[in-house]
């Protein structure tokens, strides 16, 4: 199926934890043009919060780096969100995506990828150790019209 791009926005931010709230609010405000339900917006905010937090906590553990957000909305109601870092990368993506797996233990639940997967329609992860990680989230907004 062909998706027709109708609008897009790119944001770049520092990997500071205070930006977790900014990132999800910004994406949610942009996605609002598709007239989503409150539940759909909550799903998107939650998934974005997970992806951005991972950049801050895991990609740049002891340094400050850049996080890029690219949000695209399509004519058929699809919203596609790319969250990209140039941090440490993930050596074993399959293992990282397992529910309850965390390389940081203690206060991390290891549920970030599981939440992204269950709250969105599609999650794809591309990563190279030492080069960075790109997470793409997709959701088809059915919206208030239904």
């Amino acid at each position: 199926m062909k998706h027709t791009l109708i609008n897009q926005v790119k944001l770049e931010m520092d990997s500071r934890s205070v930006n977790e709230g900014f990132a999800r609010a910004a994406v949610s405000a942009f996605a609002a043009q598709l007239d989503p339900t409150v539940e759909e917006l909550t799903d998107i905010k939650t998934a974005v919060s997970e992806a951005v937090t991972n950049c801050i906590v895991h990609a740049y553990p002891d340094t400050r780096g850049k996080i890029t957000l690219w949000v695209r909305v399509y004519g058929d109601g699809l919203v596609r969100i790319l969250v990209k870092d140039r941090g440490c990368g993930i050596a074993d993506i399959a293992k990282a995506r397992e529910p309850l797996y965390s390389s940081l233990g203690e206060e991390r639940a290891g549920l970030g990828f599981a939440v992204m997967e269950s709250f969105m329609d599609k999650l794809s992860v591309r990563s190279r150790a030492g080069a960075g990680t790109s997470v793409t989230l997709e959701k088809r907004i059915k919206g208030r019209a239904q």
Partner: protein, 117 residues
Amino acid sequence: MPVQLHYEKCRLTAFLSGEIDHHSAAALRGQIDQSMMKLHPPTLVLDFGEVSFMDSSAVGLVMGRYKQLCAYGGELEAVNLSPVAYRMMQLSGLQALARLKPKTPSELGAEKEKTYV
């Protein structure tokens, strides 16, 4: 104040509010742990009634407190969970370790009346 703590009849209740993410969880954790250290409550109740947003960092917060309670045989309850919060707690398997109580339908109905931005 992101959390109000209340101790009565062997139960320490932490009334959480606002948005819980990795950024805000650190302060919540600090305040709850300080009280727990002083009181060693037999039961810790985490009340999510006024929480407007949470991601898996909130599940980490719950699991972290659970581990501390386990160390001395305390029990954990997470109450007034929104449907999303409940779903997330279940992803972690917490329902086997703690008592999870969702919001009642009437509480949810009242919430739907609120307007969201």
